[in-house]
Amino acid sequence: MNRAPHKSAQAASPHLLARHRAGRLWKTGFSLSILFGLIALAALLFNVIDQSAGLLVTANKVDPSTLAEKPLEELSVKELTQILKSNLSNNRIKTIERNGVLMGRTQAELLELIDEQIVKPEVIASYHLFESLRHETEIRQQALGKNPDARIEWKIWLNWHFLTNVMSSNAQYAGVRTALLGSLFLIAVSILMAFPIGVGAAIYLEEYSDRRLRINRIIQTNIDNLAGVPSIVYGILGLAIFVRALSPLTSGVIFGVEGGNGRTILSAALTMALLILPVIIINAQEAIRAVPSSLRQAAYGLGATRWQTIWHHVLPYAMPGILTGSILAVSRAIGETAPLIVVGAATFITQDPNGVFSRFTALPIQIYNWTTRPQPEFRNIAAAAILVLLLSLLSMNAVAILLRNKFSRR
């Protein structure tokens, strides 16, 4: 299509140049809208990465050189254990030994323990990545000028320790292990409940329901509306029904679990299942609708019953689409925070979840909790936790795309 103004058209319309100028102006405006979105995305990612690494200035509470005559790194396991025992109270040692006796640990683990329990480096200042890169020497001079004993080091907050450590009130030793396990548990349980029901409902609506019946139209409208209900409303529903009304069930008391309350993984997972159900249903419906009706007619023609047709022909054909949609629903659930806060996620837990009746925390809950702390180092670990969250979302979406590509080739 060539819409360059023709000579005769120019003559016909004296305002043609002005009209084209206006058109170009608006076009610039429209492309600026796109640009705005791209810049916002870039700023968001930049901000998170910027805060997830940088120079960290700490000061030791106890100088490590006063603990022993030789540098600590040269000491044996026995000597290190001795240092720990002579510097910490018996109760403290007992608490630590609950996770394994001191003598049975490696030298590296003991050194870390001494650092955490005795040396206790406190954060004086924490700098962002790009700030640190640009002004490294000034930052170092300034920090040493204020406190000659200060320890200045490069810190990448997202590291292996961060993934494997349990929570701590000191940001330097805090990790997301419990939160990550909690999130995985939660997602696994909620998808186990939501997937069969969601696919069942989609099959019913697409293959069985007679749209002339009012009840079926109500179900459809209702599902569409539920998809738009704010997630916090599901949280309140979960609080009222699963946490309070069904407390004997969700706390596991009727299964013989001791002294729990309803604020368990099970309650949260049920709430989350209700939340993702409409999304799963709508996506599965679309996948089933895309199955060509010739497939069904062929099966019926060979004498198959309705369910045989669905189970052997419609579902296998629609399954990639259903799975893709479900993965997208799950990736929405992973980031949900508000309903979990309302149903009572704990913010400080150091024990791994060990079943559906245990108390729990989740990755977004930790991000929320750490972001609300005033200290800058908690912002750093919140950024690191955000990176963990975004990377897991990214990998789930990648799986969904791969799945779609693999099956759409058929």
């Binding site: 206006a22 809208s33 738009g228 029904i241 019953t305 309302v342 977004p364 972001t371 979302l393």
Partner: protein
């Protein structure tokens, strides 16, 4: 297993009943059970809605039934301080409206602009690259946007307007970031509506000598208007129900203020704060989150219904 049984059953029945002409009359109990089970799956959603209305309604009634609370005061008073028995919901509603308005100032024009660009101007290839990138914005969890608001947008606003003017927690920062979050929703829904406008309408416009912008503005956008309005309404509903951004960045403490630089707690922010603390069941505080939750549910329900009606309208015309 179910499937095996069925196949066996079907095979068994065939042996017993050679009269093939009557096959359709045979009662198929397995099929009926499956049909019933699938219907129950569909009905779970109805139960969810009923559960929401029943539970929220019940607790909300308890709230309005308690002696400190009067419905008229709830709707008209401008102080929300449960500790001294003042339950006026207006500060919370006001803060919700303010963050929503700021979000819409960003999301509606920019989202529509992006949709027009993608649907009317961009080549197929540009569109195929830009659209998924914009959709990344929609996939980022809202708690991350809350972090972004608090650690990026607020310092930025304080840099522009002065730290003395702008409080650390403020409704403007939360609203603007919320706008960024909702932008892809507006753009993808509006784009769907724009692309549904038949090509023949555009061709007609060009034939009459319209420039591309004129055809877009005077023909395509009006033709897709119901879909665009539907997108706008869904966006408003989303902004009203959005929780984590306002919980992190808008402040925790009800305040009746129209100053965008001041902290003010929204309805959703209040629910998060109260339920995140140590709850004592059956106190007016606790019951109040149900009353506010119900209000939230009803507002978003109405907006969603209106939006669906409008979408149905343009689908009816063009599809």
């Amino acid at each position: 297993m179910l499937r095996k049984n069925l196949v066996n059953k079907a095979a068994g029945e065939k042996k017993q009943l050679p009269a093939q002409a009557r096959l359709w009359k045979k009662p198929r109990r397995g099929e009926a059970v499956i049909h019933a089970f699938l219907f129950i799956c569909g009905a779970v959603s109805i139960l969810t809605t009923l559960g929401i209305i029943y539970e929220l309604g019940k607790e909300a009634l308890l709230f309005f039934g308690s002696p400190e609370v009067k419905l008229l005061d709830f709707l008209t008073q401008t102080t929300w301080q449960p500790s001294i028995g003042k339950f006026g919901v207006l500060p919370l509603v006001n803060a919700t409206l303010m963050t929503t308005v700021f979000a819409m100032i960003i999301a509606l024009p920019v989202g529509l602009g992006a949709a027009v660009y993608l649907s009317e101007y961009a080549s197929t290839r540009t569109r195929a690259t830009l659209k998924p990138i914009l959709e990344i914005l929609a996939g980022i969890p809202s708690v991350v946007y809350g972090y972004f608001a608090l650690t990026f947008m607020t310092p930025l606003l304080r840099g522009i307007f002065g730290a003395a003017q702008v409080q650390v927690y403020n409704t403007l920062s939360a609203g603007l970031v919320m706008g960024i979050m909702i932008l892809p929703l507006v753009s993808s829904m509006s784009e769907d509506a724009l692309s549904a406008v038949p090509r023949s309408l555009r061709e007609g416009g060009y034939a009459l000598g319209g420039t591309r912008f004129e055809v877009t503005r005077k023909i395509v956008v009006p033709a897709a208007l119901s879909g665009i309005v539907a997108a706008f309404i869904i966006a408003i509903s989303r902004a009203i129900g959005e929780t984590m951004i306002v919980a992190l960045a808008a402040g925790s403490g009800p305040a009746f203020t129209l100053n965008p630089f001041k902290a003010a707690e929204t309805m959703t922010g209040y629910i998060v704060r109260i339920s995140g603390g140590d709850l004592a069941y059956d106190t007016p505080d606790y019951n109040s989150i149900f009353a506010i939750g119900l209000l939230l549910f009803l507002i978003t329900l109405v907006l969603n219904l209106v939006s669906r009606y409008l979408v149905g309208k343009y689908r009816e015309v063009y599809e």
